[in-house]
Amino acid sequence: MSTNSLSLLSTEKDSAAKYMMLSSLIWLIVPSLLGLFLAIKLVWPDFLNQSPYLSFGPMRTVHTNGVLLGWLSMVQVGAMYYMLPRLLNTTLWSERLGNVTVWMWNIGMTIGAGTLFMGITSGVEYAELIWPLDLYIVVMVSLVILNAFMTVAQRQERQFYVSVWYFLGSMVWLPLVYLVGNVPVEMIHVPGVHQLNMNWFLGHNILGLWFTTMGVAMVYYLLPKVTGLPIYSHKLSLIGFWTIAIFYVWNGPHHLANGPIPPWLQKAGIVPSLLMIIPVWTVIANVFGTIKNQMNLIRDNVIVKYLITAGIFYLAACLQGPFQSFMSVSAVLKFTHWTVGHAHMAPFATFTFIGMAAMYYIIPRLTGQSLYSWSLANWTYWLGTLGFLVMGLSLWTAGVMQGFAWIDGKDFMAVVEAIRPYMLLRILGGAMMMASMVVFLWNMVMTVRTSQAKIPLEQSDQKVMVQS
């Protein structure tokens, strides 16, 4: 790297994508480590409990906000900075503005984490940052949106590839979803039930109209690039887009199943939840349709393996989701560890995997170095996948046990005792996931730092193809 590329607000081509993605690693590693600490605390409550700053509640908020607003959002925006110009045959409208958002994101996350550790919180799950920070985020996201739409405006390619749809849809929805979920109720009175409803409007739609749509855009970009195969069906991908656009936004109330809301609202949340099978099915059909004659790619190409696995877990999450949204099922599973298992599947085993796949593809192309080690990438894959399965299966088992034991009227502490082995297993799974991320970090750092002979970029594509 030249010193020029290290300057604070570089105008070098693709520098915003590169720095956004590389700095997102901080927000993968640190908040995930806190997650592992939380898992330990749920077995040994005295672990790291010597000061208010390290206690369970604040640490949990830094964990969730860190991985979602930090890592996942940043790696996805970084990928968009890289992919959007290429899809539109142009350059990013302003690299400098892009780099401004890289700084704003990292500084904002640092301040955010600091306030949350100090217990300065709005108290609303997934919207814990206090309103001045929300305003900061709105400004920051507006700059991202401006850059995206100006890039579209100066495009050379008239036709929108499906990834562009998904990126632009995400840009439209994110600010709206965020604003609804962050109305400062200390200042504007909103009755508690409506707060709950708006809380889960955010909680659900930030997943469906931000992480999901950005992640799907990335898959539709990466899969044909990496395999050299055309996407199976363009039409199917558009059906997927519009079903998400039409139905996802209705899903919020399924988080209030059996809650103090009228039956019509319950149903308004449940029916669209069932329809969510359609968009996930279009993605799965397209992914498998694309590689169906070359299934060997799953074995031979680490990136394809990541994308396929992400797709399978996406399907699983979206089969669990509608199931959980039934009032009878929710009556058993709500408030148990089951939900936590579900809540890790899509963000980790789907969208984190897609983020990692994107970095394996993009970072070598931006640094001109081939990936430091594909065999380490394989380690990351297996540790992550198996680690998640251990964690997910233990949480789902524990959740089902809790749900039925409570119905049976078992003593609360007896249930806590009964699921302790599963909480221990969860720590094991979490440790494997953590190990997977550390290997990933190492691989990325070495890719950027090692001064190998530069290889032509087209060739690095080939390398992806043949090396496992």
């Binding site: 509640g57 108290g123 936004v249 009878s328």
Partner: protein
């Protein structure tokens, strides 16, 4: 539309708006969701109207230390919640800012904990040494809180009680 940015944006906004109006705005028209219960009035007097009361201070600490990530305050008309006291009514949290209904039960539901455990001393002791009070508990100790803070949290816990509601004539039927 595959070339037209404006159409794409307008349609995306439109479908979003439909879902938003239906699931977020329409409920505001539902009178059943807009009527505070006596429980809500009681909590308003203690907390919203007296921001310096121990209960208000306790609620702020509850939020600050994230008790809501382990404790729901949300009793449903379902078998699993049958022994937790009266079912949560929409109006019960009418004045809450923010709501603290929570989404997990790593510990028991606390919606009516004041009825179950009305003894402040118990709460203080439990916050200082949960394992000493309940063997095998995985609730973390809050022994680094000041005496005043412990008092406040305990006062808030005790204030979480059910106030008789004349509208609550029908007993919830436990459906699932």
């Amino acid at each position: 539309m595959e070339r037209n940015t404006t159409k794409l944006i307008v349609l995306s906004l439109f479908f979003f708006a439909v879902g938003f109006v239906a699931t977020v705005l329409l409920p505001f028209m539902d009178q059943g969701l807009m009527r505070p219960t006596p429980t809500a009035e009681y909590r308003k007097e203690l907390i919203l109207d007296q921001p310096d009361s121990p209960e208000a201070r306790g609620r702020a600490l509850y939020m600050q230390y994230g008790c809501q990530y382990c404790h729901s305050q949300w009793v449903r008309p379902v078998l699993a919640d049958e022994r937790l006291g009266p079912v949560l009514r929409a109006g019960d949290s009418y004045y809450d800012a923010p709501h603290l209904h929570g989404s997990a039960r790593i510990g028991p539901d606390l919606l009516w904990v004041g009825d179950r455990i009305p003894d402040k001393g118990w709460h203080i002791q439990h916050l200082i040494d949960p394992q000493g009070v309940v063997e095998g508990s995985i609730m973390p100790s809050y022994n680094w809180l000041t005496e005043e803070e412990l008092e406040a949290l305990a006062a808030y816990m005790v204030s979480l009680k059910y106030i008789e509601n004349p509208d609550d004539v029908v007993d919830p039927q436990y459906r699932y």
